[in-house]
Structures are given as structure tokens and as C-alpha cells.
Symmetry: C2
């Protein structure tokens, strides 16, 4: 296979595996179900990813890479708005996928190699958020009475809250307006 | 046993069970370990609580009742500050207990009877938060450009974010100052 074909195959597996993890959870996404979801044999799947844990981490890292791009361009609040929209449209079983991430971060928190890759993923998102806030501070649109680091962690707190809310299948309620409050809390007040 | 003795015994079991769930997780808190933690036989424990699931829910409801009292008196932000302090002091294995709550809310989310009791617990905390914010609005200390319902859900989002942060064993970082930002975001700006 060419590099492009390898990449395309890898991407196909990740997309199908993501849906399978979202639907069945980590434990429920058996190798048999991963074969059905991807339409590939276990041999083909594990040619690309060492084992189920590495496959799961690759899906999560793919997600995180997309998030980092959105954060750099439009900020973490926009990532939250997109997540809320997708959950409302039941798109890609957003709640299921978030729930599986929570399940796994709990289950594998005692595994140091996993914990390290998981932490790198979160750190990349935090870095992108911090850099964007720093640029906004320089542009004069950010409040100035609170350090950028505190505002970064404030946005992360809101993101974690949204993840937990959606992962536990609770209704969206007024969350769209809540995100307006979150966004307003980091901005400079209108003169 | 007198009513007082029954109540005291029940309270002892809840306290010991809470520590056991915090340390071993829901699955890991076997009946044998619950016996060791409480110093009582399974017969004695399950005389007070129907089964492990009911025991777990009773611990969680006991917690929620304490939270409702603190919310009514000092607000949900104070509950968050207390939680952060206790996690920092490793008091009562706060992170472990939050982690077990997340584990269980995920594991038992397909059980309608459990889901109902769990939702009632959250609703009691939300109601107390809403009532306190309403009193603050009447006292003129709350911002007036956002409905009380949206501010209630904003505080819940921050609470959920804190739970997820602490349950996954992440360091406190700047969370104390983040909670100042959360508190400031619901208040009327200083004139």
C-alpha cells in the first residue's frame, strides 16, 4: 500500500472504531464488534494499531487533534458549542463517545503508559487554549484583572462540566445560554 | 434497638461504606470488604440496606443532603470550595469517592430505578441552587441581564467540571482562583 492508502485505511478504521466505542462502551466494543464495524479482520485492524487500548487512544488523539485546530482558530468555547450542537443532533453518538472516554479515563487511570498519553492529549488542548487567550489579551478583548492561566483553567473547567453533563445523557437545557455566560466571563466588559 | 440506635447504626454503616467505595470503587467494594470496613456482618449491613446498590445510593443521598444544606446557607460555589479543600487535604479520599460516583452513574445509567433516584438527588441540589440565586437576585447582588435558570445551570456546569477534574486525579492548579471567576460571573458588577 502507498502512504496515502495506508493513511486512508487508518482513517477508515478510526471512524468505524469511534462509532463502535460510542455505541458499546470500551468493554462492550469487543474485537468481534470492531471487525463488524470496520468491515475488516482483526489481523487487518491490529496491523495498524497494536491492540484495543492503542486503537482507543488513537481515536481519542484524532479527536484531540481536531479540537486543537478548532481551539486555535475559534477558541474552546466554540469547541463546546459544536459539541452541544452535535449532541443535540445525536450526531455520531456524541454522548456515547463522551461516556466511553469517561469510562476509560476511570478504568485505565492506574496504567502509567495510558495515563501519560491521555495527559498529553489534554495538555495539547490546554496549550492551544492558553495561546489563543494570550493572543486575545494582546488584542485587548480579554479581561485584564485575571491571569491568562486562570482563564485557561476556567474554560477547561467549563469544558469538563459539559463533557460530564452530556456523557451522562442529561438534556441540554439552557446550556447554549450558559456558554454565553462562560464566554462573557473571560472577555473585557463592554465600556 | 431504639430509633436513635437504629439511626446511629445506619450512620456508622454509611460512613464506613463511603470510605470503602472511595478506596475500591463500586465493583471493588465487595461484600467482604464492606464487612471489614463496617466491622459488621453482611446480615447486619443488609438488614439496614436492601443490597449494595441501595447502600451506595444511600451514601450518595446522604452526601447530597449535606450539599443541599450548604447550598441553601452558602451557595454552590461554597460547596465547590469545600470540595477543593477536602481534595487538597486528601480528606475522606475525596477524589476516590467522586471517581466511584462517576463510575456508578455510568455503569447503572441503563437501570431506570437507579437513574430516577440519581436524578432526584441532582434535582434537589439544583433546586437549592436556584432558590438561593433567586434570593440573591431579590437582594440585588446578582447580575440582572441573565435569567436565574441560566445562572443555576452555569453553576452546575462548573460543579460538574470540578467533579470530573478531581475524580480523574488531576492537580488543583489554579482552581481556587477559577472559582473566584465562577462566583464573579453570577454577581452584579461592582458599580
Amino acid at each position: 500500500m502507498s502512504q496515502d492508502q495506508l493513511y486512508a485505511r487508518r482513517h477508515e478504521i478510526l471512524t468505524a472504531a469511534r462509532a463502535c466505542f460510542a455505541r458499546f462502551g470500551y468493554g462492550g466494543a469487543t474485537v468481534r464488534r470492531l471487525e463488524e464495524a470496520t468491515g475488516m479482520s482483526r489481523g487487518a485492524i491490529f496491523h495498524h494499531f497494536r491492540d484495543k487500548e492503542h486503537l482507543f487512544l488513537a481515536v481519542a488523539e484524532d479527536d484531540a487533534a481536531t479540537m486543537v485546530e478548532t481551539v486555535a482558530r475559534n477558541g474552546l468555547v466554540q469547541v463546546m458549542r459544536d459539541l452541544l450542537d452535535r449532541a443535540g443532533n445525536s450526531e455520531g453518538d456524541t454522548a456515547g463517545w463522551l461516556g466511553t472516554q469517561l469510562e476509560v479515563s476511570h478504568r485505565l487511570r492506574t496504567d502509567p503508559a495510558f495515563a501519560k498519553r491521555w495527559a498529553q492529549r489534554s495538555a495539547a488542548i490546554a496549550d492551544a487554549t492558553r495561546e489563543r487567550l494570550q493572543r486575545q489579551r494582546e488584542a485587548g478583548v480579554l479581561r485584564e484583572d485575571v491571569p491568562v492561566e486562570v482563564l485557561t483553567q476556567f474554560l477547561e473547567l467549563a469544558y469538563d462540566g459539559l463533557v460530564l453533563h452530556l456523557a451522562t445523557g442529561r438534556p441540554a437545557g439552557e446550556l447554549a445560554r450558559v456558554l454565553d455566560v462562560v464566554e462573557g466571563a473571560v472577555r473585557k466588559p463592554a465600556a
